[in-house]
Amino acid sequence: MIDSATRPDSVQRVSATATVSTTAAEASSAARYNARYNRLGMSIARLTSFFVTAILVSIVGYLAVRGLPRFSPGFFIDSPINLGREGGIFPILVSTALLALVSLVIAVPLGIATAVYLTEYTREGHLTLVIRFGAECLAGIPSIIFGLFGFMLFVVSLGMGWSIMSGGLTLACMVLPTIFRTSEEAIKAVPDGLRRLGYSLGATKSQVITRIILPQAKNGILTGIILALGRVIGETACVIFTTGISMEMPKSLFDSARSMSVHFYLLAREGTSIEMAYTTAFALVLLILLVNSGANLLMQSAGRR
């Protein structure tokens, strides 16, 4: 029985002029109403969670159903034949990996270095505010604009042509704001006490950064990198303009290449082969599943030493 002190909201709404004391009957009906309301609310929430998870399972399932018939281990080893209507996607897999590697090898150090410099070596001021704000706005810019920026700068004026290098540099510019902002948040989350503790043990500023702050912020930074990797692998418009669409196996970073998402896009949109499009999409989702769960494991193990 709820004592009269805790007046459930429902009773207040029923009669705004009611006196403070409620009769026992009134209180118990409110209790039943609350309990039912509570069960209703919680079950709606649980239902929605299952619904959202079901959406995911059905997407992956749909891709699997449509993609599995043509899916064989060979798919990852052979090269595409006849515009990708048959054969495998080995060169495309390699190109995607190279593209991700080049873009992250450039964007990760730059992003973390900027985050470290702006949090540790400068005082909070107008400059840091402007930079942070600029990065946030850039993170919202659609990738096609980066695509054309990359095309004009790297492909044309720097003469790199359609190549993994141009694509990698463009994708690096695109994910740099994301990595910078997530790293900065992670570094800021490190309590100041740990910094002072480091200094009190005779560590220099760079030692405090490399031995205390970065290890402590590692999980946050890793999350930023995974987000960036997801975006790089999923990118199409920007990659078509900078890396090109050649299905040949790239022999150097300056050869043009086709990433898996672009391959899926061209197969699906040009209607070259819908089945192969689904197979590629299914392989892509598997790849991302691997990367994500690998990273989660890394974070879990790093979390509890």
Binding site: V105, I106, V156, T210, R211, E248, T272
Partner: protein, 285 residues
């Protein structure tokens, strides 16, 4: 100290990358792509057939690297202008406002028919130009107006600037003869950015009508007879089917060396055969 070693290496790594980045940016303006092999870039309508021709050309000249890129006609033309690609592919005539189009030489390599397609269940079989213009300008709202069933008309067009669309607008939306003003395509027309996109929409919507390259027509869609002429290899070659547009290769000055050889190969019998299989009429002999 395992983790601090990792982080220290990270500092050295950064120096390495930064040097690499600077080196890459500095050393590259010169060499670019053309020093090794041939790059052909441009229109996404021309790219598929160019890819097939390049495949067979690679068997013919294995020592040469042929790189076929997409990106659209404008990107192709710009690539040809800046030398990023020796040959630019375009599915439309060079526009007047294109910069110094005087320095670009255009070589017509094939004629591509634009097929008007509908859903297989659509009873309509043929249309004349005037009806086609009426449909696409939004004048006729229902299939009943052109002899079909009383169903709303769903128009599918390509995006502004695409070779296929500008050719269609020139030949259909401009009333022939009295040189009247070109009618605008109905604003409610759905826009898809690729041949596959148009076909994909048509496959699923019985009330839709669109236009794509003849080569891209498949069993899932029905091609209409326009002005009494059915589009096929013959009617395109003898110009009886009037909805055609040229596929062009553009290059800065006359193509030379491997580029010249590739163009000759395209216009030659091998190229013509591949183009024929893809529903194109070669502009060669």
């Amino acid at each position: 100290m395992k983790y601090s070693g990792l982080i220290n290496r990270c500092v050295r790594l950064r120096i390495l990358i930064f040097a690499g980045l600077a080196l890459a940016a500095a050393s590259l303006p010169g060499c670019g792509k053309n020093s090794k092999g041939l790059t052909v870039a441009g229109s996404t309508s021309v790219q598929p057939v160019m890819e097939l021709i390049a495949d067979s050309f690679r068997k013919h000249r294995p020592d040469q690297i042929i790189d076929v890129e997409g990106g659209g006609s404008s990107a192709g033309i710009m690539a040809a202008l800046t030398g990023t690609a020796q040959l630019g592919m375009s599915s439309r005539r060079l526009k007047e406002d294109e910069p110094n189009e005087k320095t670009l030489t255009a070589i017509t390599i094939a004629f591509d028919a634009i097929a008007v397609i509908v859903h297989p269940d659509n009873p309509v079989v043929k249309l004349d130009l005037e009806q086609l213009r009426g449909l696409f300008s939004g004048q006729y709202r229902s299939w009943k107006d052109v002899g079909g069933s009383d169903r709303p008309v769903h128009l599918i067009v390509r995006e502004e600037g695409s070779g296929t669309r500008s050719a269609f607008e020139e030949m259909v939306m401009k009333p022939s003869g009295d040189g009247g003003r070109e009618e605008a395509v109905d604003a409610y027309a759905l826009v898809q950015d690729s041949t596959g996109g148009v076909r994909e929409v048509l496959r699923g919507d019985p009330d839709a009508i669109g236009f794509i390259s003849l080569g891209a027509v498949t069993a899932q869609v029905k091609m209409l007879v326009i002005d009494g002429v059915k589009a096929d290899f013959e009617t395109v070659r003898n110009k009886k089917y009037r909805l055609t547009r040229p596929f062009l290769l553009v290059s800065k000055g006359e193509p030379t060396g491997i580029a010249r050889e590739f163009v000759d190969y395209i216009l030659g019998s091998d190229g013509a055969k591949i183009m024929h299989d893809e529903g194109l009429v070669s502009a060669g002999r």
